[in-house]
Amino acid sequence: MLLFSVLLMASLLVSACGVMPNKSWPGLAADENTVYVTSDGQLLAVKEGAQIWRFPEKVNQNRLIMSAPAVGGGKVFVGDSANNVYAIDAATGAQSWINEEQDGKGRIVGGLAVVDGTLLIPSTDHFLYARDLNGTLKWKFEARNTLWTQPVSDGKTVYLASLDHYLYAIDLATGTLQWELDLGNALLAVPALNGNNLYVGTLGSEMVAVEKATGKVLWRSVVEGSVWSKPLLVEDTLFFGTEAGKVYAMNTTDGVVKWQMDAGGAALGTPVVFGEGMVITTESGEVNMYTLEGGRPWSRQLNGKLYSSPVVVNERVVVAGLETDTLLATFEASGTPSWTFNPAK
């Protein structure tokens, strides 16, 4: 019994060390010429391959920065694993304010969003918080389950996809629920909006079109593999990747697939418009450039896993990797590699 207890304790401690931290893939955002990336519990600002600042200076294991950052009003906003929200001065990295109202009861995993002077914060405590850019709470909305997805807004209504299978439409000014829609599967993808409709992928391998004003489903289109991120909307076409490693171009009017291609690995990030086409990354480390017609002018292979949605800064596409040789890698529109970045230990 004694030996058993000692061995059990030792093993549990060893296993606990490896699995308990809230490990996730890097989150990316950018302004005109600076990239903001959350990685390993910190937020880093990087310009042309050089670090400008990092926040916090030392990783706090109890307050790991996890969410993808949001940029607005000269500040960068991030959340942490203890449900705190930070406003960081984009130029200096100094902390402007911290909100600890909900500390300890949840985590901020999903990306934050800044809409018309309102900061939207999805939390695993089931609440979507709306604050002004100084941190004052405007309203909060309770969903049925944990919130991992960045909200989006057209300036009047906030659209929130949730793991609880529901899509919520919430009044941006008041936080009042306008409608809700059960899509029958968990939603992790951010909806894409156009004039009258929104388009959201599900973990049940569907792309769904919904009327923004009423929440009425317009069409559902089955795809191969679950959809984890926001589709890229270009005119009347949706472009998105799936966990099964497919890239789709889909008609917004009826959900008919225009073309589909093998991505080479699970494509979980949102495609980004770049050069004459778009860039999609894959779990197997590929950075693929596609034309909107389904051509693939170039593909580059990195050592590691690319889950995060890429961003474009200074005419370069920036990708962030997990278990990669470099945290950030950049490419020009021709596919030529540009600067890379790895944080100093």
Binding site: L7, S11, L13, M20, W148, G184, L203, E243
Partner: protein, 273 residues
């Protein structure tokens, strides 16, 4: 690692999720039932381990064993030979207490890791979980996993917040420590007071003190789903031993001094001559 995942983690995680669905998507109840199920499956091993441990305990207090320790203290080879003879005479297999324990060990670690995997904390965790869910487990109804149980988020360390108090009370960590203490006291063999140099008894006493603190600390810092598992494991363990009549209830009394155990009746065991 892939073999470990295929043989232990994936089946454990899926069974846990099946139970979760079966009990109305209550992850706390699923953890308790899964712990119970694993304990039932490994019960024969526990019985075998208890029997082996009892035999070894009797051996420790056998006069002949103590005498040969003294007599051959400078001749390890001879001591080993004499010990083997005594094992045979008393019908004891020295491996019988270790082997069941070693078999149970990966199961318990696997259970622990399956719990963590099932409680997917981040999108990356969820991606990894979605890839090991068996086709017949209804993943669309499982995700999102309902991590709430009573006042707790099972994927986070537990604190009970009471209005007026500026801090949360780690109730589960305290219960983990208390149940660990009670279990270790109840399952400790009666101390051999006739032998003040009995190092095994000293170690047991020391572990009885430190283990609850260590387990309580783990309950304080790790996800509360694991605390539920620890508590369920402790209570089920006590019940298991009680059913086998191996619980020393009097060990819980504050100033109880156990009597020295009787010498084993070697004549009864002696059968092969």
């Amino acid at each position: 690692m892939d073999i470990w995942n295929a043989i232990i983690i994936t089946p454990f995680t899926n069974v846990l999720l099946l139970i979760y669905n079966f009990v109305g998507q209550n992850f706390g109840v699923a953890i308790i039932l899964f712990t119970l199920l694993i304990r039932l499956i490994t019960h024969p091993l526990t019985v075998s381990q208890i029997k082996g441990a009892q035999g070894m305990q009797k051996l420790q207090s056998d006069k002949r064993f103590q005498e040969m320790q003294e007599k051959y203290k400078n001749d390890k080879e001879k001591l080993a030979q004499e010990q083997m003879k005594l094992y045979q005479e008393l019908g004891i297999n020295p491996l019988s207490s270790c082997l069941p324990m070693l078999i149970q060990f990966p199961i318990i670690i696997g259970l622990y890791q399956a719990l963590i995997k099932a409680m997917a904390n981040t999108p990356l965790d969820l991606l990894n979980l979605s890839r090991i869910i068996w086709p017949f487990v209804d993943s669309s109804s499982i995700i999102p996993l309902n991590n709430r149980f009573l006042w707790m988020d099972l994927s986070q360390p537990e604190r009970l917040y009471i209005p007026g108090l500026a801090f949360g009370i780690p109730v589960l960590a305290v219960v983990v420590a208390i149940t660990t203490y009670i279990q270790s006291k109840l399952l400790s063999p009666t101390a051999n007071t006739s032998n003040p140099k009995d190092q095994s008894a000293m170690m047991t006493n020391m572990m009885n003190i430190y283990m609850p603190f260590l387990m309580g600390y783990m309950g304080y810092t790790l996800a509360s789903g694991l605390s539920v598992y620890f508590i369920a494991g402790n209570i089920i363990g006590i019940g298991q031993y009680a059913l086998l009549g191996k619980v020393n209830w009097r060990n819980l009394l504050p100033n109880f001094k156990p009597a020295a155990p009787p010498q084993p009746d070697s004549k009864v065991k002696r059968g092969k001559k």
